[in-house]
Symmetry: C2
């Protein structure tokens, strides 16, 4: 089964590209400082970015001294956009579906993934691939939409944007939302599922952050 | 500062003692099978139970072959009730507040705590004490009320018992609820806080379960 690829849908893509995180890059992504705080020094490392989008993080990793950045995304449009930035021979882009991805054995020191895994239904295989592609001592840093927000069977922000119904937290599976476009399918997994699958794949949990917007 | 001890409040105590988990013991606690699935073999071990209540788990551990069980609780009434069961010289009960508890160095192989730590405001000290009292390779298994349920600034079950407001998840601190009696103070900590404090204390995370009632 292939993951839904809403990013190649015209309406969704146009809306998405106007988000601050896409128009401004990492500086426009409010969660970036928290995400970055989890990253090890990238100088001299090889990095894979799962769900690389326009390649902001790949380019950032290269600026920080990574010797190779490998960005993977399901969206041809996002990859086309990534390739419009000045070419860097040490950045490779690959079109692939995280549901079925195969990564090479021990190919890198750091795998990152920002807000992509909540589109993946079958997490065990992608997590196993990440573990396999990391060299010993390698690190996996990822963010997903908080399970509290993917929990409701019909997710939506309430008017005050502070409360969300929680009637289905333990019931994992697809959730259809109207975020930027209609019927965007996210896959709800619980917090315990993420932690358990990581441990089962061989990872040790190093840190967990639950991020929320500050007043600003 | 001392934790609130609602268990020695007459109204609360009387209501609490009629819950299935108290009237029937572990068989009346619906989450017990999940909790037990996380426990290692207890035969031959020394066990501490933080928030031991009437001592059901201490007695269970002894039946399973633990050589010593040490139950600790803030409630004199609960400990009095525990002592009404037939005496076992290998079970010790201690009256102590988890907020300020001091545990002996490397005294046991297993620390358990069932639905007690969500009353503790300052988790780092109790978690450090647990780490300190475990022998190398020792295990800490605990349950807390899910942070989703302690999150709301005014927690309450809605009429359909399926939805709870979530307006304050990242805002940690006391929550006053009317569970069995008025103004029962629970301390809301996020999922990330529990995981982070455990890692900072020196623990490796072995497993996480998010439990919810099944249809039965």
């Amino acid at each position: 089964m292939m993951a839904q690829n809403k990013y190649d849908d015209g309406v969704f893509f146009d809306e998405f590209m106007h988000l601050p995180s896409q128009a401004l890059g990492l500086q426009g992504a409010p969660e970036w400082p928290s995400f970055r705080s989890l990253l090890p020094a990238v100088r001299g490392t090889k990095v894979i970015d799962l769900g690389c989008g326009q390649g902001f993080t790949c380019r950032w990793a290269r600026e920080m001294g990574a010797i190779l950045a490998h960005g993977i995304d399901i969206s041809e449009k996002m990859l086309d956009s990534a390739k419009r930035f000045p070419a860097d021979p040490a950045i490779e882009y690959e079109h692939s579906d995280l549901e079925t991805i195969e990564l090479p054995l021990k190919s890198c020191n750091l795998v990152i993934s920002s807000l992509a895994l909540h589109y993946v239904e079958h997490l065990p295989s992608v997590i196993a691939q990440v573990f396999k592609t990391l060299t010993p001592g390698g690190i996996f840093v990822f963010s997903v939409e908080h399970p509290i927000y993917t929990s409701p069977s019909n997710p939506q922000w309430t008017k005050d944007e502070k409360a969300a119904p929680l009637n289905d937290y333990l019931n994992e599976g697809p959730r259809s939302t109207n975020w930027l476009a209609e019927d965007v399918i996210k896959q709800h997994h619980t917090f315990a599922t993420y932690v358990t699958l990581l441990i089962q794949a061989g990872f040790s949990i190093g840190a967990v952050i639950e991020w929320g917007p500050d007043k600003e």
